[in-house]
Symmetry: C2
């Protein structure tokens, strides 16, 4: 009876109609009039964030100046791509929104091993690079706890505790049939999501997890486990905010780290990045003539997506691009050139900032290791 949409955190999810997720999985539509406080968030303002669970808890914490956390993580298998950037932007946004917010960022090196076979030594180097990215995107290191899963004793212990609460059938219902190792990664992720509520971090509190729609299975599992442990850990059920999945430059779902020309990374050489944008799929017609007559199709256009989702801060500019494309005024060649300039300018600034933050990134990892060590004593 269920529809055919499968949300697979480890595979490709092709979601054309996000509203289906409301009925299928109980994600709530993001009613912007209720969350006006968050209107400064570009993803929310532009309907890229389409749904949530319990976002009200975060709203109340912000309004009442109460502590809350925003948490997510990265699998350190390669440079930051635009998907990682979206999550990072959300973390930075919700961390900076209130002085009472703390950010948690998990380096999912255990998952990088279980899913991609990357050794901890390899992923450790990548992690420093990834961390410099989120710092360059604006993360306040003083209110951030950044840690590697492979060193986080509490997370591992929680995953073992949670293993007692799940059955194979329950995991299959949530994730589909997956290798044993991925089910275990999933339990670790539940540990990550619930970590900010442990007493070492100030105890139970609202926690917002910004994720792509395909990660919802992790949210559901963590919420189930939080509910099961309300008597011992007193967990508050975690909140989530969901963004739409972005496509590869050739128009496919979802971004894959495997084909480097299909996606932009924050480490890209500026010349290469420009080339990638110039080659991307657009919503253009067969001929300039036809396009002048019919207008373009911005909904199909990856170039437009790059502007709306990732690189154009100015709402008026985005509206103008849309209007001009629809009316046939705007032709793809010029449009891509304009977009590639936005991308290149962003990358140039970002890479400059990032270069100065590598040491800070190492420091952050060291700090969390020290916290871990002192928690052991």
């Amino acid at each position: 009876l269920k529809d055919t949409i499968r949300l697979d955190p480890w595979g490709a999810s092709d979601i054309r109609d996000y509203s289906k997720l409301f009925d299928l999985f109980g994600i709530e539509p993001l009613d912007k009039s209720r969350f006006k406080v968050f209107a400064s968030n570009r993803y929310i303002r532009r309907n890229i964030d389409f749904g949530h669970r319990d976002l009200d808890k975060i709203l109340r914490a912000v309004e009442n100046n109460k502590p809350y956390a925003v948490m997510s993580g990265i699998k350190p298998t390669g440079p930051f791509h635009l998907g990682s950037k979206m999550t990072a932007d959300e973390i930075v946004y919700f961390q900076r929104l209130s002085p009472k917010a703390r950010a948690f960022y998990a380096i999912a090196d255990v998952e990088a091993y279980c899913d991609n076979g990357l050794s901890f030594t390899e992923s450790s180097k990548i992690a420093v690079n990834n961390l410099a990215d989120i710092l360059a995107l604006g993360l306040d290191p003083d209110r951030a706890y950044v840690y590697k899963q492979s060193e986080a004793i509490q997370v591992m212990n929680m995953s073992f505790i949670f293993s007692k609460d799940v059955t194979y059938n329950m995991m299959k219902a949530i994730y589909g049939t997956k290798p044993f190792g991925l089910y275990i990664s999933a339990l670790i992720q539940a540990g990550d999501i619930l970590l900010p509520q442990r007493k070492e971090f100030g105890g139970p509190k609202p926690v917002l997890v910004p994720v792509g729609a395909d990660q919802d299975p992790h949210i559901r599992l963590a919420r189930d486990l939080a509910k099961k442990h309300q008597s011992d850990f007193k967990f508050v059920m975690p909140s989530a905010i969901y963004h739409k999945l972005t496509r590869s430059l050739s128009g496919e779902y979802k971004m894959s780290k495997r084909d480097p020309m299909s996606l932009i990374t924050l480490d890209d050489d500026l010349f290469v990045a420009k080339k990638k944008v110039m080659n991307c799929l657009t919503g253009g017609r067969e001929s300039t003539e036809l396009q002048r007559k019919l207008g373009g199709e911005p909904e199909k256009c990856v170039n437009y997506e790059l502007c709306v989702i990732h690189f154009a801060e100015d709402d008026d500019f985005v509206k103008r691009v849309y209007r001009e494309c629809m009316s046939g005024e705007r032709i793809c060649g010029n449009c891509k050139k304009e977009a590639s300039e936005l991308v290149v300018n962003f990358l140039k600034e970002h890479q400059k900032r990032k270069g100065q933050l590598i040491e800070k990134a190492k420091e952050l990892l060291k700090k969390s290791k020290e916290e871990l060590i002192s928690s052991l004593k």
Copy 2:
């Protein structure tokens, strides 16, 4: 086609014919003529150790004065019973056999949680008590690494690494259908068994795991995983030595911590212990008259088992008991009295030694935590 014997590390295993395990699971019979070096081991000498895997590796290490490890663990859910004592005796024996041997002893607090729901705080107290027991049984603390699973980052990491190597069907084939949490405990145990071979502990080496026959599934899994990781970790496949399972005082398989009157613990009050022995199942006949005529049945007698396996050091005494029982000279009442004296004397001495070792036990746990912390730095 397989026979009906099921080896279940978490349930009850009723093994009447140990020789079946040779064909069914590939355990090798323990040929005493090949292992004369170990004749000073009471369990080997008296055929209580009935089988092994790769014991030759340990023999060669002893003969050539090469490093090896002996490892096992305890689930800290209650006082030491006679099953825990057997494993502990074996660890002490193989540790003391060579100056190149190191003992590893895992406090299975994660398993105590997953299998018995015991919190880490509760099991932590029990662990100190259990450790004082193995110290009183002769463990040399200077060549022992004692650690809690919940604190052993390397063990947890290995269990995650191993989770990538197993399938649900493989676990089912080894362990039968078990809750998800127990499969995960099993992966942790594999991590425990392979820990002594990590480079922090001097790298690959023979490791002997002395266990009850019902624990063989853990040995098979650890050996499979060692084989799979010969290219990265360079693991030597671990060795095992198997002892027969002992019965409860009422004659049932296997010792259960759940019914306190059915088993003797090393913490027992001397008066209570005596009472337990006096109430145990014997191999006596219906009447004294019949017994004088037919002789007793020592094979059925738990009292005899207490002597042979656990408390009588003197081989001549054991032989005499057997002979006298078979001939009808020996009557159960007197025999139990004699056995209960052996038990009480042992417990008295043991409890005296143990009382002085509680601080040493705490120290040992502290030392391993310090090693862990310095390995993190």
